[in-house]
Subunit: 230 residues, 2 copies
């Protein structure tokens, strides 16, 4: 028994798991290829169609359109037209859409233990910021307070750490104790692969301004879970 197209504001993929389990329903909603990665890119705020294409190399315009329609149909995002001038269209998660972040975190925590995980692959700035939220260790950050700026591919991000908490947002860099300028993979190399900042700077992959001490402390706050033993 297939679910037919509904007549309300929502739509389901043609194939349903037909299962009352919440996880199965989630996969009905966002289990199609690229759907969760589109949501991932929107987790730090609205983006335009071309921003999404740029952040998700490999997705075709075709499929991106379908996913955006689907995610809008289930109520996970809305498309908004910004007021003129500009009048560009942006896609923005709904409050419920933003609540999908724990799904991405659970997936990420689990998969980084896989021996097949290749941290040298491309990484979007948004993924990097979300990985900070996921992997942040309050114990290692005990007594540490800092405001770190990131200038990654033309967009600015701010990470604030204090009281054992972390915030990460796409926002102008203001009052930063340290600023990283470069690419998301370079920062990931420092944070997750332990590449010394000096090496990355010598390679020209990264520029670090502000307090070196703070930058050096920052990159130690995100321990990866141990790899599984093969």
């Amino acid at each position: 028994m297939k679910l037919e197209k509904t007549t309300n504001a929502y739509s389901l993929p043609g194939r349903s798991y037909d299962d009352a389990c919440g996880a199965a329903h989630a996969l009905d909603l966002v289990g199609e290829r690229w759907a969760l990665l589109v949501m991932r890119e929107l987790m730090l705020g609205p983006l335009r169609f071309s921003d999404l294409r740029a952040a998700l190399p490999g997705i075709s315009a075709n499929v991106l359109t379908q996913r955006l329609e689907g995610l809008e149909g289930i109520g996970a995002l809305v498309r908004r037209r910004l007021p003129p001038p500009g009048a560009v269209q942006v896609y923005e998660l709904t409050p419920w859409g933003y609540e999908a972040e724990p799904i991405l975190q659970a997936l990420g925590r689990w998969a980084t233990r896989s021996p097949m995980h290749d941290p040298t692959l491309p990484l979007s700035p948004v993924s990097l910021m979300l990985s900070f939220r996921t992997m942040f260790d309050p114990v290692r950050a005990d007594g540490f307070e800092a405001r770190i700026g990131f200038r990654l591919g033309g967009e600015d991000y701010m990470v604030r750490i204090g009281k054992g908490r972390i915030e990460a947002a796409r926002a102008p860099i203001e009052n930063a104790d340290a600023v990283f300028t470069g690419t998301a993979p370079a920062v990931a190399g420092a944070v997750y692969a332990g590449v010394p900042l000096a090496v990355l700077e010598a390679d020209g992959a990264l520029e670090v301004d502000g307090y070196r001490t703070i930058a050096n402390r920052f990159v130690t706050l995100f321990p990866l879970p141990p790899k599984i033993q093969t």
Copy 2:
């Protein structure tokens, strides 16, 4: 740039997201259709091929074979042949495979807020037990200790509640304060739709033995998150 087939013990699906993000890698590993639901059914212990087919109506034998091969290839499960006599083959999650449960929980918590979620669809006994683990509210269970048995479709399950914690396992029913006999959807109706036990018993959908008070308290311990406002 596609990933080529690796020469080690692991295999990846032909299409990779080519993304260092942990969530993207997770979707490379278990993002194919049915993969996470196969893992869900194995969360309470090993099962045979035909058990999985029965628990996942809608999956075809060849797809199940492919998923089992894939999950074995990534190291999420192993196939074991039980010692003779019997000598049946079973599929069992690895320790890392069991660690995927938070993924299912995050998916379930998020999707039950969708207005499209239909709790009247079929539900496997394992899904029901996992939903207890997911939705259990320690506050509501304050001061409550109980051992509840479930006889669902020929298999027995035990849920133990105490000290604000819950355990759920496929296990013989022993020293139970109350025992539910019937189908998983019927129990779900009592727990998640608030159908009174007396009604379900009058319909013949459920039989409740043991202490009624404990059974009636039990079904109040699993509040669903509120639906999103449409």
